[in-house]
């Protein structure tokens, strides 16, 4: 068994490149949301999206290669490249010992429509075989492996938004158990006209409210988002040997699905238990990062209730943060951003504020959601879905 460190972060998102761009923009109150394109049937006049502008895909692919891959593959590989560079890690001869774990909830939709369009138009003989593989959810993971020569264990999880934390947990186990010394793990989602069409119906009424609303009891607006976020995990021994500077250590995880009981109580129970499961203490939690997307879906209500319980019942100075308040509802990509942001915050000992706090947010919660310096060494990253599934990671800073 070995300690597992996060040594590299790669972000391609609406704020630009790198975790610092997210931290700086979020700290300055810049959400990076833009108007939902008029051509893409916005649900209302105030609807917005978190869209990625240009990113340096040419750094990783030739023009010819770029013609053979789709946007999610390019974005994911770019984020992986940034993470490896951030870790100052040249995988090189260690490709066979480097795992590639990936998560996505909806990245394949655009390419799926593109490939199947001839069938839908009654012209199946015009199917383009070059576009067919893009329908596979693991194709971005495969592209990362091909681009960087990674032949270690490889998988793609697609259970929903939580696949992000599941991928990190599984990669953590692979490194912890000594199966590999390095894992590149991350996730991506993309937007397109068709993706927005589906999200508009998927999110339903939550697209139609005037503003996002965090930690309250009233509904708010979801802001669909795209991006890619990749992490480099390393065994402590491997990282030490090359004098890597870690962001944080992953201490452990917990996951499950709430059955018939009260979810907020259940989630609070998970948050309370996991520190002791990994040898920590809940009083030392400095940051609680949650997956709320800005409305009042079942999991958001549960998180709000659990945060309230934590604020009232745990004698700690933990700050609360909902990264989706400045990055949008990006499902797996923002699930990974939660982890990256917590790791970076532990190293910087500061966390940005949660934006769009609900007017009816409890004062005790509001007081902890304003961002600022962190008092303590550990963070909980909590993810939940509206079907009751949850996943929680425990990180610690001050390592290395």
């Amino acid at each position: 068994m070995t300690d597992v460190w996060i040594t590299g972060l790669g972000v391609v998102g609406p704020h630009g490149l790198g975790i610092d761009a997210v931290l700086e923009a979020a700290s300055a109150g810049k959400t990076a949301f833009t108007k939902w394109p008029e051509s893409h049937a916005p649900p209302n006049a105030s609807a917005s999206v978190g869209a990625v502008g240009s990113f340096p895909k040419e750094k990783y692919f030739s023009e010819r290669q770029l013609r053979q891959i789709d946007r999610v593959m390019a974005m994911s590989a770019c984020a992986a490249g940034l993470a490896l560079e951030d870790a100052a890690l040249d995988v090189g001869a260690e490709g066979d010992r480097t795992a590639t774990f990936f998560a996505t909830s909806r990245a394949e939709r655009t390419s799926m429509l593109r490939f199947t369009q001839p069938i839908l138009e009654g012209k199946p003989r015009q199917l383009n075989p070059a576009n067919f593989p893009w329908m596979a959810r693991n194709i971005a993971c495969g592209q990362i492996a091909v681009r960087f020569g990674l032949r270690g264990p490889s998988t793609t999880l697609a259970s929903g938004s939580l696949a992000a934390l599941e991928a990190v947990s599984r990669a953590y186990d692979f490194v912890r158990l000594g199966r590999v010394p390095i894992a590149v793990v991350g996730g991506a989602e993309i937007l397109s006209k068709f993706a927005l069409h589906m999200l508009r119906h998927d999110y339903g009424d939550d697209c139609f409210h005037s503003e996002p609303s965090f930690f309250g009891l009233r509904p708010g607006r979801l802001v669909p988002s795209e991006g890619a976020c990749m992490l480099v995990l390393e065994s402590a021994e491997h990282a030490r040997a090359r004098k890597a500077a870690p962001y944080a250590r992953i201490d452990g995880w917990d996951a499950g699905r709430f059955g018939r009981g009260a979810w907020d109580e259940g989630l609070y129970g998970v948050w309370s238990r996991i520190p002791s499961k990994v040898g920590g203490a809940r009083e030392r939690i400095a940051l609680l990062s949650v997956s709320s997307g800005g409305s009042d879906r079942a999991h958001e209500r549960a998180e709000t209730g659990a945060l309230q319980r934590w604020a009232d019942g745990v004698p700690s100075a933990a700050r609360f943060c909902a990264p989706r308040s400045f990055a949008g509802e990006g499902e797996c990509w923002t699930g990974l951003l939660q982890v990256a942001l917590a790791a970076a915050a532990l190293r910087a000992r500061r966390v940005p504020p949660t934006w769009h706090l609900a007017e009816d947010a409890a004062e005790a919660v509001r007081a902890r959601a304003g961002g600022g310096s962190l008092d303590g060494a550990s963070a909980l990253i909590s993810g939940m879905e509206k079907n009751g599934r949850y996943s929680v990671l425990h990180l610690s800073g001050g390592v290395g």
Partner: protein
Amino acid sequence: MRKRRVVATGLGTVSPFGLGIEAYWNALLRGESAVRPIERFDAGAYRSRLGAEVPRSIYDDEALRKACGGPAEDSAFFMALAADEALRDARVGPTFTDADRAGCVLGTLCASAREMMMIGRAYLETGPAPSAELIDSARPGYQLQFVADRYNLTGPTSLVSTACASSTDALGYAFDLIQLGECDRALAGGGDVLVESIHGGFNSMFALTTEAPRPFDRDRDGFCIGEGAGAVYLESLDSARARGAGIYAEILGYGLSNTAHHLTATSEDGAGEALAIRRALDAAEISPDSIDYINTHGTATRYNDATEIRAVQAVFGSRSSAILANSNKSAIGHCMGAAGALEALSTILVLKNGAVPPTPFTRGNADGMNMDMVRGVARRRDIRHALSQSFGFGGACSCIVLGRWNGLDAKHD
């Protein structure tokens, strides 16, 4: 850290041979094939019109679908049928308590593809807005959610989508969850469906046969797509013993790799595939000499089979010829994301029954063919350790090692 031993105590399936393990195993043993012209959609526009569909008597049985909780998507229907049988077979459930913390890991490739096409068609034709139910069932995670809700699975749950390696990977993931103590019991496997977009895709790549799938035959010309679901109820050995469960087999280890070679083509030298095999053997703590039988990926495409032969040669060397081998894909088609689960079921039954089903249509005479391909009739043999191999798009490789249950405290007899 002490790892816990993990055993399979319940099996279930719906396959192109029909409902249930007995129908599946008996048809495999007899060397039957369910490959037929596709009925579910008009395949007339395609070069290949062959598939292996779940029988219409099951697919169209609304009462059966309702009895399964009325899933809105077909792979979830198939998975529920398989899971119902696996839980009955294991004598657990059908629903669990919150405190049981039963886990679940499923694998799929094509689940919800038909629903995505329905939404896509309406979108292109600016038709009516999709219903909330259709949107919900178009999520790849729908199958997992449906199964988790149906049996009240409150442990760790996830869905793997590594193309044709998905459900082998899912079995490995569930094995890890139990082995590492995250839960005591888990439902593992996966369901997948034969849909036009996937048939059209493989057809456009000239990967589908126009006659019959002939794995490892010199004149092979591809596979046909199958569908169905396979479910395995896994639990810790301690749990199985405590409740006096019947044990089919032991899960000994699994291995993953990425070929990092090409997004659709298998590697030329089989090196990436061999890595997954070696990792599975290492995890199982057995040597290549211990493998008696391989359930091959055996797609019957020209390049895939050639690569698989090289991978087996790289790991097993001259001993390859002593290893019995078959492929289920000429019997039930290539069940895509569910293929690994259905093949693991077959492998478990080989271990349990000491008989290896034959591979229909093939002469097993591919260039360089090194394994002892079982053809014609089933071969009786005492199999102690078996390997099931799955390889897919995106360079995904997943292999799992299963051991005959020896009833002993020692892992290997």
